[in-house]
C-alpha cells in the first residue's frame, strides 16, 4: 500500500456512491431494536421499486440518539426518522419522493445534535463501520501515511503534548506526558495497549466508538506505536461487547490485508501488529495493572504502582495504555494540528468529551460536547430534562468511582478539575440522570454492591471494607441504622480510600461520600426509621 493506492481506494469509494443514501444505524441500541431487519427491508424495498440505480441503503455506526432508535437518515435531504419498524420501510422509501410518510420524524437541528461538536464521533452514523473503504474515503489512514513519512516520533509526541489531550479513561493524565515516558523508557520491546474494558455501568462511549469507527482507534494506536517505538499492540475489549469485538476483529483483518497493519506499514520500516483480547467479565480489569495481568492470561489483579506500566508493563516491557476515546482523538489532532485542538475546551481540559446520557432523561444517547460546557446545558438543552418534565435531582458521573452532583451545582463546567471539586470525577463519560423518585442512599448502596462484587480480593481494605460499607448502607436503607453506624460508615470511607491498593478500592467510597455531601438529609431521615426503604424507583 502506498499513497496512490490509498487515494485510489478513496476515489473509487466516492465514485461508487449513489446520489441518495439511506443510512441505517446498526449500533447496539438500534441493532437490539431490530435495525438489521429494517436495513434488509429497506434494501429489498429499494430494489423492488427499481431505485437501486440511484439509492443506496447503508448500515452505519451510532448516530447517538439511542433512546429513539432504530434511526434512519436520508441524505442529502437530511431527513431523520426515529423508532422505525421494519414494516415501515416502504413508507420511508415513499418519502424519497416527498410522499406522505407517517414514520416518526426526528429533527436533525435539535439541540441534541446541533450543540454537539463531533471530533472522535465525526464518522459515527456516517460511514459503514464494516468497510475499510468507507473509512479511507472519509480520509482514513492518510494521517498515518503522513506521520510515517514526514513526522518524527518526537514531533508526534510534541503535537499530542501541545494539544493538551488528557486521558479519557477518567483520571485525566496528560497523554503527551505518558507517551514521552514510554518513548524514553529503555527497552527493545514495547507495547501499546488500548483499554476498551469500559466497565462503568451506565457508560457506552467506547462501545459506540468501537462499533462505529474501529479504524479510527486502530489508526490512533498505530500512530502511538510509531511515536513511542512499539511494534505490538493489544486491544482489550469487554466480553459484554460482542458486536464491537466482531467489528474490531474485522477491521484488523481488513487493515492487515491492505498493508495498514502488520509488517512494513505503507511500505516503511514500521511494523505494528495488533491483537484483540476479550475480557471475561471483571470490572477491575479497567485498572491498568490488572488489565496487563489479564492480557498475560492471569487473574485480573492489580499490583502496586510504581513501577508504572510506562516503565514496566506487559511482560515487564514499557507499555503505553490509553483508553479507546483517547486513541480516537489522535488522528484528528495530528490531522488538524495541536493548536486547533487546544483552542477547544477550557484552560486545562482541552478538546471534546463523549458522554453517555442515560437515566431519567428525555433524550437518551451519546453526545460529544466541548469541554467547559455546563452540566445544565447538557442535561437541559441537549438532554431535554426528565421525560415527564419534573425537576432533575442529580446527575451521577464517573460510575462507581464517581459521585452524584446535585441540581444546584448544574452550572459547573464539565472539566476534570471542576467535576473533582464538586466531589465527582470526569470518569469515562457515563452520566446517569436522577429525578425526585431516586433514593440517593439506595444509589450509594447500588454502587457499593457493585464495588464489593468487583473487588478482586487482593488487598484487605477493599476486599473486606466494601462488604462492611455495604452492610452499613443496607442497614440504612432498611431503617435499622443508628447514628453510630453512620459515623462508622464515614470512617470506613476514609480508611478504604487511603489504604486500598488500586483505584477501584480507593474510589469505591466516592458515591457514598458525594451523596453524604449533598444528600445527608436522606441519610438522616433513614436513621432508626421504622419503615422500610423508599420504593424502587419507577419510570
Amino acid at each position: 500500500m502506498d499513497l496512490a493506492e490509498l487515494n485510489a481506494i478513496a476515489a473509487h469509494e466516492r465514485a461508487s456512491r449513489k446520489p441518495i443514501r439511506i443510512a441505517c444505524c446498526t449500533s447496539l441500541g438500534c441493532y437490539a431494536s431490530g435495525a438489521v431487519e429494517l436495513q434488509q427491508q429497506l434494501t429489498a424495498g429499494v430494489a423492488a421499486t427499481g431505485r437501486a440505480e440511484n439509492v443506496e441503503v447503508v448500515g452505519v455506526g451510532c448516530m447517538g440518539f439511542c433512546g429513539h432508535g432504530p434511526l434512519v437518515r436520508i441524505e442529502p435531504e437530511d431527513l431523520l426518522f426515529e423508532h422505525v419498524r421494519p414494516e415501515q420501510a416502504p413508507a420511508i422509501i415513499a418519502a424519497l419522493d416527498g410522499g406522505p410518510c407517517d414514520v416518526e420524524r426526528g429533527d436533525p437541528r435539535h439541540p441534541f445534535f446541533a450543540r454537539q461538536l463531533p471530533i472522535v464521533r465525526r464518522n459515527g452514523g456516517v460511514i459503514d463501520p464494516e468497510r475499510i473503504e468507507a473509512y479511507i474515503a472519509a480520509g482514513g489512514y492518510a494521517t498515518l501515511y503522513r506521520v510515517l513519512h514526514d513526522v518524527s516520533p518526537a514531533e508526534v509526541i510534541d503535537q499530542i503534548t501541545r494539544s493538551g489531550l488528557r486521558g479519557r479513561g477518567g483520571a485525566g493524565y496528560p497523554t503527551g506526558l505518558k507517551w514521552a515516558t514510554v518513548a524514553k523508557s529503555p527497552g527493545e520491546r514495547k507495547f501499546v495497549v488500548c483499554n476498551g474494558d469500559e466497565g462503568d455501568p451506565g457508560a457506552f462511549m467506547d462501545r459506540s466508538i468501537l462499533e462505529s469507527d474501529p479504524h479510527l482507534v486502530l489508526e490512533g494506536m498505530a500512530i502511538a506505536a510509531y511515536a513511542v517505538g512499539a511494534h505490538e499492540g493489544y486491544l482489550y475489549v469487554r466480553g459484554e461487547y460482542p458486536l464491537a469485538i466482531q467489528r474490531l476483529t474485522r477491521a484488523i483483518s481488513q487493515a492487515r490485508r491492505h498493508g495498514l497493519s502488520g509488517s512494513q506499514i505503507f511500505e516503511t520500516a514500521f511494523d505494528f501488529k495488533v491483537e484483540v483480547r476479550v475480557g471475561a467479565g471483571a470490572f477491575v480489569c479497567g485498572e491498568e495493572t490488572a488489565l496487563i495481568a489479564s492480557i498475560e492470561g492471569r487473574r485480573g489483579q492489580p499490583r502496586p504502582r510504581p513501577p508504572y506500566p510506562a516503565e514496566r508493563g506487559l511482560w515487564g516491557c514499557p507499555t503505553l495504555i490509553n483508553n479507546v476515546e483517547t486513541f480516537a482523538n489522535i488522528v484528528p489532532i495530528i490531522e488538524r494540528g495541536a493548536d486547533w485542538y487546544a483552542s477547544i475546551g477550557t484552560a486545562r481540559s482541552k478538546g471534546t468529551k463523549v458522554f453517555a446520557l442515560t437515566g431519567k432523561i428525555r433524550n437518551t444517547g451519546l453526545i460529544e460536547v466541548p469541554m467547559g460546557i455546563t452540566l445544565r446545558e447538557i442535561i437541559e438543552d441537549l438532554g431535554g430534562g426528565t421525560p415527564d418534565g419534573t425537576p432533575v435531582k442529580a446527575v451521577q458521573t464517573g460510575g462507581p468511582s464517581g459521585g452524584c452532583i446535585p441540581a444546584s451545582l448544574f452550572d459547573t463546567p464539565v472539566d476534570y478539575e471542576s467535576l473533582a471539586a464538586a466531589g465527582s470525577i470526569m470518569g469515562s463519560g457515563g452520566m446517569v440522570v436522577m429525578d425526585a423518585g431516586t433514593n440517593m442512599v439506595e444509589i450509594a448502596r447500588f454502587y457499593m454492591a457493585f464495588c464489593m462484587d468487583e473487588s478482586c480480593g487482593k488487598c484487605v481494605p477493599c476486599r473486606v471494607g466494601t462488604v462492611q460499607m455495604h452492610h452499613l448502607l443496607d442497614k440504612l436503607v432498611n431503617g435499622q441504622a443508628t447514628s453510630e453506624d453512620l459515623v462508622q460508615l464515614e470512617a470506613l470511607c476514609q480508611i478504604v480510600r487511603e489504604m486500598s491498593l488500586c483505584g477501584l478500592g480507593q474510589s469505591a467510597p466516592n458515591p457514598v461520600l458525594s451523596t453524604l455531601r449533598y444528600f445527608r438529609d436522606e441519610y438522616a431521615a433513614l436513621l432508626n426509621a421504622p419503615s422500610a426503604a423508599a420504593p424502587q424507583p419507577t419510570d
Binding site: 447496539l28 455501568p201 476479550v278 471475561a280 467479565g281 470490572f283 419507577t538
Partner: protein, 185 residues
C-alpha cells in the same frame, strides 16, 4: 423488537465447521495451536472452551492446563476469577437482566424481582430441569434502551415485566432442548 448479537467470544478466525460433539476437541486444539500453546492465551482458550462446551468442566480445565503447561491451580484460579466463565452447566435457555446504573435507575431491580417471582429462581441460578438460567449482567452498554434484558442472546430494550413474562413462557413452552445443545457432561 430485538436483534441477535454475535456470540460473546473471540471471533478472530473462522472455524472450519460448525462445532459438533465430535470435533469440539479438535477446534479447541486448533485454538491452542493458533496461540502456539502460549500460557498467556489462557483466557482466550477458556473463552473458546466455554463457547464449545457450554461450561468449563474439571476435565476440560485439566486438558487446558496440561496443554498450555500451566499449573492446574492457576487455570482454576483464572476460571473462577472472571464472571464470564461458568464451572457448572447453564440452562438450555438464559435470561440475563442488566443491572447497570441506567437500567437500575429505570427499574431493573423490580424487573429482576418480577422474574425471580415468576420463575422461582434466584438470580444466578438454573432451574432444576436445566431449562432456564436466570442471570444478571454488570452493564451491557445498552443504556440507551434501558432497562435491557437478554433472552437467549436476543437483546430486548425498554423491557417491562409483562412482555418478558410472555416471552419467557413462549420460550419455555417449546419442546425441551436436547442435552448436547447446552454442553455435555
Amino acid at each position: 423488537m430485538a436483534g441477535a448479537l454475535p456470540r460473546a467470544a473471540p471471533a478472530q478466525e473462522q472455524d472450519l465447521a460448525a462445532p459438533t460433539v465430535d470435533n469440539r476437541q479438535k477446534i479447541l486444539q486448533a485454538t491452542m495451536r493458533r496461540h502456539q500453546y502460549r500460557p498467556d492465551a489462557l483466557i482466550e482458550v477458556l473463552h473458546k472452551a466455554q463457547e464449545l462446551y457450554g461450561y468449563l468442566s474439571p476435565t476440560l480445565l485439566a486438558t487446558v492446563a496440561h496443554d498450555l503447561h500451566l499449573p492446574p491451580s492457576r487455570v482454576y484460579g483464572v476460571a473462577t476469577f472472571y464472571h464470564f466463565f461458568s464451572l457448572a452447566p447453564q440452562g438450555a435457555h438464559t435470561c440475563t437482566v442488566c443491572l447497570g446504573t441506567a437500567c437500575y435507575v429505570k427499574g431493573a431491580a423490580a424487573l429482576l424481582a418480577a422474574l425471580e417471582a415468576e420463575t422461582g429462581l434466584k438470580a444466578g441460578s438454573t432451574s432444576a430441569d436445566g431449562q432456564l438460567s436466570l442471570l444478571t449482567a454488570r452493564c451491557l452498554g445498552a443504556c440507551g434502551i434501558a432497562p435491557a434484558v437478554v433472552l437467549d442472546g436476543l437483546v430486548i430494550g425498554h423491557a417491562d415485566a409483562a412482555t418478558l413474562r410472555a416471552r419467557l413462557h413462549a420460550l419455555l413452552a417449546q419442546p425441551p432442548l436436547a442435552e448436547e445443545h447446552h454442553g455435555s457432561r
